[in-house]
Amino acid sequence: MSTLQRLTARLSEILDQDSVITDPVRLRTYDCDGLTYHRATPGVVVLAESAEQIAAVVRLCDEYGVPFVARGSGTGLSGGALPRTDGVLIVTSRMRRILEIDIPNRRAVVEPGVTNLAITEAVRDQGHYYAPDPSSQQICSIGGNVAENSGGAHCLKYGFTVNHVVGVELVTPQGEIVELSDRDPGYDLLGAFIGSEGTLGIATKITVRLSRTPEAVTTVLAAFTGIEGGGRAVSAIIGAGIVPAAIEMMDALAIEAAEAAVHCGYPEGAGAVLVVELDGPHAEVDHQFAAVERICRETGAFEIRVAASAEERAAIWKGRKSAFAAVGRISPAYIVQDGVVPRTALPEVLAGIDRLQEEFGIRVANVFHAGDGNLHPLVLFDDAVPGQGERAETVSGRILDLCIEHGGSITGEHGVGVDKSRYMPRMFSEEDLDTMQLVRCAFDPKGLSNPGKVFPTPRLCGEVPGVRRGVHPLVESGAAEQF
């Protein structure tokens, strides 16, 4: 009997029979998240319903030295929830209760499986919302948002998940239930936990900050003949000291896909569209709108539309928010890339992507959070054509090189996961990575919590690949101390 089988046999002490999945056909349905390029059938799946259950399962993993991976809705785009064939996949999709709504203090306490949008829906009537809005907000879970420090179109003005989560209850990799709060004195452990991609533990209860629904919202759709005009408009808007709630750009190919999927009716002949959303008090929004409209005209917009109603605003956003999945309509397969560049470098990087398209004969659709320079190139390919997948992979990697060359980053909001761990050394020195590993090992000395993600090789937390047991080498040599 393998270690995993022995552990599985003991899961019945903790969970109902229908909360433990061992049937191979069922297990296969959990073999990937939103990134289908990487697949691994989990050893066993656990559908947890409480923090206590998760803690008990994790304690078993700790006891047997079996790795575990947390998964929410399985919509991540970096393979952060890619299961381990030799491990336990702990799924939080049944933990979807909103436990508390405290409008006077602008707080809500939710379980990790609650979807991002469900929070907003629960408080909308009371004039509030939850600000971070990943494009998958109707399904992505708040636990996953915490793990990935998810962003979204409106993060330009309002910040990422880390700015909107004020407390987390988590199960540590040893199976202890602990609470972290932004009010804790000392090191910002909450800050370290958010965005740790499941390597420091599993969030089981999340306290989020609620925001007041803005008094006025104006959404502008500006169409340009090409991407350059849009890029100039973005720089000019930010340069004018305006911080819109969002500035999003889509190129011709992305527009084509969105039109095919949701018939968003963007202006015909547009080589690029810019979606600019302004929110705040009426006077401020009106003033900013006049400036944005002027700037768009000056930078060459040939059509400007303003959403007059919530429905019209939703129609504009629908095209943008469905863009990733919509690309499925124009290409059999694609890679969603996520990189960041300084806004000023946008034109050069886009020109570089154009050159890559020509060099490799691979199409790239561009969708981006232009305001903060967060690119989402969608690298299109046909997996039925031999070699195209590999070429697309190469293009995708080269785009990240471009981002790094221009002083940017290999991920803006999708996380490193399994997909980008190999690019980490291009951005960080060995010392940088070792230091990060120390943080990880402080939480997870045995390296059981989502191993194989974020870091290119398990360099420190086990000098050889695999699960490390025992004292960390750096600690042993006296070079570091573990708390």
Binding site: V25, T29, L47, G74, S93, R94, I139, V262, F324, A326
Partner: protein, 419 residues
């Protein structure tokens, strides 16, 4: 199962929040994305295991995922193909087989349904006993509406005022037997709006139940017969007032694509849902005030399968004095789903309870839906909830009352009385 259709799924998960079984159980294999993964496993050689069949059977076929999918995955086609494969390759237990045989020998046949009406009404009292014997029998007893007075429809109802169209009316099996007053109302509304309404007396089942349950050969037989019936009737358009029937009739060309000659005949048959047709035609008859509050329920086979959402709301909203209310989570199925509440009574009941709670929360006087299955399901669920009553009616009945200047009190049957 067409591998090309399977490949369209990019695993984004946008379908999950709209899937009733995912909403209930929160597990991947009971979501559209997970079921497509199961289909993929089968295409790659995994046999239909009991587990696989269980998850595929648990799909309601509500098609909410088709509406939600940004990649345009044809899950409707996929699940239909898959059901046929499951029927062929999966061996059901003797009890399951017997119950299925009974349902498919009964519901598509109006005369047999008629013979069953009295026993079914009586069976209400025996419901707990039947429930213990077999959950499907228990569900049938619980769902059966009060026996309606039979309504004999003439073969042709002439247009009042100038004739604008000649239409055929599909009377449906369950609609025709349990809700004959809906067909009568439909014919009157169409006539008042200027249509000659042809009602072929010996029309059979349209094949919806068979098609949505993977009984391909039976579905084809019913489809051909229905096409031939309405061809003989010489009508411009066939108007359907039951959402499930309308959606399967709109799929005839696909169902019969391998039958020489039939695909073209299917294409030539114009099929419209009643609400869709009336909005296209435009109103001419006067609407009298109808002071009533209405919660409108989107039948999945109308909203998701046929994309008919705005038309019924437009028709109801156009009636002076009528207060139209939205039901929260309107995109989630009520659990009726054709034969689903008979074969999967536990899940169906949970979904029904969820829907009833939201329907009652609107505080409306009347629940309006355009599918007999939904009507029976939600009525049974509100009865179980025991919190206040709500009367139920079809869109056609509400329009009929407005056109004829009837009082809202004449509308609908009260769910409390049904017991």
């Amino acid at each position: 199962m067409d591998p090309e259709l399977i490949k369209d799924c990019v695993h984004c998960g946008f379908c999950l929040p709209t899937c009733p079984t995912y909403v209930l159980w929160g597990e991947e294999m009971d979501s559209p994305r997970g079921r497509i993964q199961l289909m993929d496993q089968h295409v790659h050689g995994t046999p239909v295991t009991d587990e696989m069949a269980g998850h595929l059977d648990a799909c309601l076929g509500c098609m909410a995922c088709v509406t939600a999918c940004p990649s345009g995955v044809r899950y409707d086609r996929l699940i239909e193909q898959t059901r046929a494969v499951v029927e062929e390759e999966h061996t059901r237990t003797p009890e399951e087989r017997a119950v299925r045989a009974m349902v498919f020998a009964l519901f598509p046949y109006r005369r047999r349904l008629r013979a069953m009406r009295l026993p079914m009404a009586l069976s209400k009292r025996l419901q707990p006993l039947l429930e213990r014997a077999n959950p499907t029998l228990g569900a049938m007893a619980e769902l059966a509406p009060p026996a309606a007075r039979p309504v004999r429809l003439p073969p042709v109802v002439r247009a009042r005022r100038r004739r604008r169209a000649t239409v055929g009316l599909l009377t449906g099996c369950v609609q025709g037997e349990f809700f004959p007053q809906v067909n009568a109302a439909t014919a009157r509304v169409l006539a008042l709006e200027g249509c000659d309404v042809v009602i072929p007396p010996r029309q059979g089942c349209c094949g919806a139940l068979s098609l949505h349950s993977g009984r391909e050969a039976e579905a084809k037989r019913f489809a051909m017969r229905t096409i031939a019936t309405f061809e003989r009737a010489g009508v411009d358009t066939v108007v359907v007032n039951a959402a499930g029937c309308g959606s399967s009739m709109k799929d005839y060309a696909e169902v019969l694509k391998d039958e020489p000659g039939w695909s073209g005949r299917a294409d030539a048959l114009a099929v419209r849902d009643l609400a869709e047709f009336l909005v296209e035609l435009g109103p001419v008859a006067e609407r009298h005030p109808l002071p009533v509050s209405v919660a409108y329920h989107d039948a999945c086979h109308l909203a998701h399968a046929q994309g008919v959402r705005s038309q019924p709301r437009e028709l109801l909203g156009g009636i002076p004095g009528l207060d139209l209310r939205e039901i929260a989570e309107s995109a989630i199925c009520c659990g009726s789903a054709g034969t689903y509440n008979l074969f999967q009574p536990v899940a169906a009941r949970e979904l029904g309870d969820r829907k009833a709670e939201r329907v009652l929360a609107t505080g409306a006087d009347l629940l309006v839906s355009a599918n007999p299955g939904c009507t029976m399901q939600i009525a049974a669920a509100t009865r179980r909830a025991g919190k206040g009553e709500i009367r139920v009616a079809h869109t056609a009945e509400v329009l009929d009352a407005a056109l004829r200047g009837l009082s809202p009190q004449t509308l609908g049957w009260v769910t409390e009385d049904a017991g």
